[in-house]
Each structure stands twice: as C-alpha cells, then as structure tokens.
C-alpha cells in the first residue's frame, strides 16, 4: 500500500511531466516509472523532486530554444530578396507622393489662377500654400492611413514623401524670410 508521501511524489512528478514539453515527457515518464523500484518513501519523494526539477529545466530549455528559433525564422523576412521588395514598395510610395505633389502644384495652382484674379490673389497670399503644402499633405495623410493596413511599405513611402515635403517647406520658409 502506498503511503501519502509516495502518493505525493508520484502526483508531483506526474503533474510536472504532463505539463512539460512533449520532448521532455518521455524523460519524466522514465523517472516516474523508476519510483516503483525505490523502496523507501522519503527516498522516492527526493527522487520525484529531483526528477521534477530536471524535467522542468529540460522543458524550459526546449521552449527557450524554439522561441529563439521562431525569432530567427521571423527575421528570415529580412532576406536580400525581401529587402529589395520592401525598398521597391517604399520607393513606389515616395514616387506616388511626388506625383501627387506635382499634380497638386500644377493643377490646383492653375485652377486657382483661373478662378481668382491676380489682384485678389495678391491679398490672399496664404492661398499659395494650398497647392504646395496643405492639399498634398492632406492627400498624403489620407493615402497613408488608407494603405497602412494592406500596403504598409507603400504607405511608409508616402509618409516619407510627406515628411520630406514638410522639411523642405520649413527650410524654405526659414531661409527665405
């Protein structure tokens, strides 16, 4: 008949074994089986405690290794081919922002000059910022938000274009006053 100490030893090692990684469970079961051949109850408890520690360590080491391997595989995204694709999408975003800026400057500026007379335009200097800054930056923001979920690299390119335009305007304003 099993004593309470032995029962506890079996339960402890059994529980740790069942909750460990699959690769460690064989070792846990091996130690668990050896308990049947240990005569003294207290010795069986020390055996179970040591065994549980060994299984736990083995299991943690396996989990840590697979975690690291997962991270390395994930980093595999950054292969030369993928970096090229990412850069191409980023460049396309920048090109789109440059195109939008050109369309805005040429189109909106022409539209403004057709709608507003030159005399009125002299009084409304701020209108000049519309085609070169306000409208393009607004479109960039909307496009980047719209593309962020599905075409993130392209959206990043557009954001890059928006930042470049903003910096250019700031530099222009500060150096031409």
């Amino acid at each position: 008949m099993s004593s309470a100490v032995r029962k506890f030893a079996v339960r402890l090692l059994g529980a740790v074994t069942r909750s460990s990684q699959l690769e460690s469970q064989g070792w846990g079961n091996a130690m668990l089986r050896e308990l049947d051949f240990i005569d003294r109850d207290w010795v069986s408890l020390w055996w179970a405690l040591g065994g549980a520690t060994a299984v736990l360590k083995h299991s943690l080491a396996i989990a840590a290794r697979s975690w690291v391997r997962e991270r390395i595989d994930h980093r595999g995204e950054w292969t030369l081919k993928n970096v090229g694709k990412k850069l191409a999408r980023l460049a396309s975003g920048v090109a789109i922002s440059a195109g939008l800026l050109a369309v805005s400057i040429v189109g909106v500026a022409r539209l403004l000059s057709a709608v507003i007379s030159a005399r009125t335009f002299e009084h409304l200097h701020w209108l000049g910022w519309l085609p070169v800054l306000v409208i393009p930056e607004g479109i960039f923001a909307i496009a980047a938000i719209a593309l962020w979920r599905n075409r993130r690299d392209m959206a990043r390119g557009i954001v890059l274009g928006a930042v470049a335009l903003g910096v250019h305007v700031i530099v222009h304003v500060t150096t031409h006053k």
């Binding site: 064989g26 091996a30 130690m31 668990l32 089986r33 050896e34 049947d36 051949f37 055996w47 065994g51």
Partner: protein, 103 residues
C-alpha cells in the same frame, strides 16, 4: 565529431558507471545508486548524453499492465568518448580524467 559537452565530474562518474559493463542496458535508478547521484543531477546528464547521441535509450516492458521502464546504454561513439575521458591508474582503480573538460 562529438558536439560540445560540458564534462563535469558527475558526467565522468556516469560515463564511468557505463564503462563497468559497456554492453549492458542500465536502469536510471541503478545508475543513481552506482554513482550516488540524485535524479536531479543524473537525468540532465543522461539527457545531454542522449542529445549528443552518446547514449541510446530503450523502453523495456517487463510486466503486462505496467508501464515500460527506460533503459540506457552507451552508443559506439559514446563508448569511444567515455574511454577517451575516463582513464585507469596503474593499480586498476578508475581515475576520472578532467583533461578533456572542453571536449
């Protein structure tokens, strides 16, 4: 080539225990009694040796209805490795060699 293995005095003790009867399969508890190592020390060593294919394992079913028992024996490369690192003194008693501690 054997992958890097930390050769602690306890590992050498285990290898030495296997060298007593290199062809025989051994039970974990018997190795523990032979070496005086507790399960928490012995099994990590057995795991490392098995990982490096220096140790082969087997399940032995003796009694029906009872779960099988795990057995251990050195592989051919394990045997070579053990003989390289566990040497005998002139009198015949075993001396544990720590020269290859970084093998």
């Amino acid at each position: 080539m054997v992958p890097r293995l930390r050769l602690s005095p306890q590992t050498l003790q285990v290898l030495d225990a296997f060298l007593e009867a290199p062809k025989d399969w051994k039970y974990g508890y018997d190795i523990s009694r032979d070496t005086g190592l507790k399960s928490g020390t012995l099994y990590p060593i057995l795991m490392r040796l098995a990982d490096r294919e220096l140790l082969e394992t087997s399940w032995e079913t003796t009694e029906p209805g009872k779960p099988p028992r795990h057995l251990y024996r050195l592989t051919a490369s394990g045997l070579r490795f053990a003989r390289e690192h566990v040497v005998h003194d002139v009198a015949g008693s075993r001396v544990l060699d720590l020269r290859g501690a970084k093998s």
